[in-house]
Symmetry: C2
Subunit: 325 residues, 2 copies
């Protein structure tokens, strides 16, 4: 039996994690031969609810689940962690300004970044899911100077999967036939879901859908999908977010398929003229646990404008939390 | 690519199904090479919420998910279904007597049994999860005379898994070391979780735990575990129930491991003196998709009394719904 892998998850009593933890424990992340230890972080007020989640994890009798640690101390949660899902974040409350929201979350992720820097496994892969995810990831990265920036990313996989699903349905094709969808920018309504390079059954997607649908419907529907789901369910996306987190991390570990790529929010190196130092979503390939931003894609003026809009939003978010960088 | 398997799920906008559907679509039920079509049944009032769940299923871009049908008509939901998870049931409302609860659910399962009888695949495997599960399964069975009674069962796998987990923790052993736990009777607080035949690391469990713990603590904790989880979470067990439903169905399809058994509520054939015709939880082995009640276990007076108590409860439930049998 392999030694267990330690997986830290924050916001562990929340809705997304409730959809995530049981799949990790069942083997959906690392496979049916890899034992895991779950290291669950919550705020003190949520520890009672977390106890209930732990009971249910025990009640599954998962053979792969070799241990559960619960704590409100990031130094304990992240000790020796090989993977960290940073899901917990403070949602926008009544009367809270956007700047306040950024600040309160920045404080959380500064603490967690420092703790990861101090105690996590040196090769820890960190995925930030909690919103504002890109800027939270930036705070984490800047507070973890001893970790490789390659190992810190934010999630735009849910947006990517939404775009893949919408395109497949539009074309009447199976989702497996869709390749090379790209999400650029921020995980927010300014993101740019780009079909210019996408293929369906190996044929350019934009030869199979009309441009009006793409520009005037598809882009907005992907950008606002979260709100659409809330309107229907009365709750924000949880199972699909958890699934995207699993998918993001699996791709990061096991790689992208030949001829395809995924979307990850990672540290900009200046590719495509995006300001270096932002956590920005790019199309990436992954191999041997390392991502590489896809290079040399042609970017038309329409795309350029949307990519810049989202970049500008990320710059303004960065300014709002400059004190912690 | 194999042709898709049709999986019907009722109560499809509920909490247990929310934890179940995404795992089915990810391949946790039938494996990574088996496409599925989800056939989702809900009551009209819940169709809006179900739309939101369907959006999230789409937003996962599951390669195995070849179709989703949503309906409030059992004749559509069950058409050609190869597997049916009957999760939806009416919970006990304020001022509702136990007899009222039995009756309102009996009405639901009578309709569903008739629909399954009429339109499901002839080899459909039906798992009743919605409570009172055993009696609901009995109603289903009696309203589906053209289906093989072998193919209708109710879930005591959650109780089984809870007992396995508790015994493993008591012994400081991994859950994989626990075998031959048995749940007898009704999926209710009268159930009897039996360790007389259980093994931990191949050694009788009752040689490794003291009898006082077994009789005065373990049995009650398994029986009342659902309430304990509700007290901690503020909600009833959902992810662990969904996991048990997957486990039950997987074992039913793929079989029990050599030397071990599971617990399923199935039609009593009079084994162990239990009244024939009740849906009662027994230890069973499964091979080639068919269960067999484990025979010739020694039953001491203590066990016999608890087995009878739960049998008596099931008899009284049957009387309460006699008009539909």
């Amino acid at each position: 039996m392999k030694p267990p892998v330690h997986i830290a998850v924050t916001g562990a009593a929340g809705q997304i994690t409730y959809a995530l933890l049981f799949r990790i424990a069942a083997g959906d992340l690392l496979g049916a031969d890899q034992p895991v230890v779950l290291r669950l972080l919550e705020v003190p007020a949520a520890m009672g609810g977390l106890d209930g989640v732990v009971m249910e994890l025990h009640d599954c009798a998962f053979p792969l689940l070799h241990g559960i640690v619960t704590t409100d101390d990031p130094q304990i949660a992240f000790a020796g962690a090989h993977y960290a899902f940073l899901v917990g974040a403070t949602p926008r409350g009544p009367g809270m300004e956007r700047k306040d929201l950024l600040q309160v979350n920045a404080d959380i992720f500064a603490v967690q970044g420092k703790a990861l820097n101090a105690v996590a496994d040196r090769a820890v892969k960190i995925l930030v899911v909690g919103n504002p995810a890109n800027t939270n990831a930036l705070i984490t990265l800047r507070n973890a100077p001893d970790l490789n920036p390659q190992n810190i990313s934010a999630m735009t996989r849910l947006d990517h999967n939404r775009a893949v699903g919408m395109l497949a349905r539009r074309c009447g094709a199976p989702v497996a036939a869709v390749q090379r969808v790209s999400i650029w920018g921020n995980h927010s309504t300014t993101q740019y879901p780009d079909l210019n390079h996408a293929l369906v059954d190996g044929v350019p997607a934009l030869e199979q859908v009309d441009e009006t649908w793409y520009r005037e419907q598809f882009i907005g529907e992907v950008q606002k999908r979260g709100a659409t789901v809330i309107a229907a369910r009365g709750k924000s996306s949880a199972a699909s977010a958890a699934n995207a987190a699993l998918g993001h991390m699996r791709t990061w570990i096991f790689g992208t398929p030949a001829g395809d790529w995924t979307s990850m929010s990672v540290l900009s190196d200046g590719s495509y003229g995006i300001a270096p130092g932002l956590i920005y979503s790019f199309p990436v390939t992954v191999s041997n646990g390392r991502y590489a931003i896809v290079q040399n894609l042609s970017i038309d003026d329409f795309s350029r404008r949307l990519m810049r809009d989202s970049e500008d939003e990320l710059k303004s978010e960065r300014e709002a939390v400059a004190g912690l960088l």
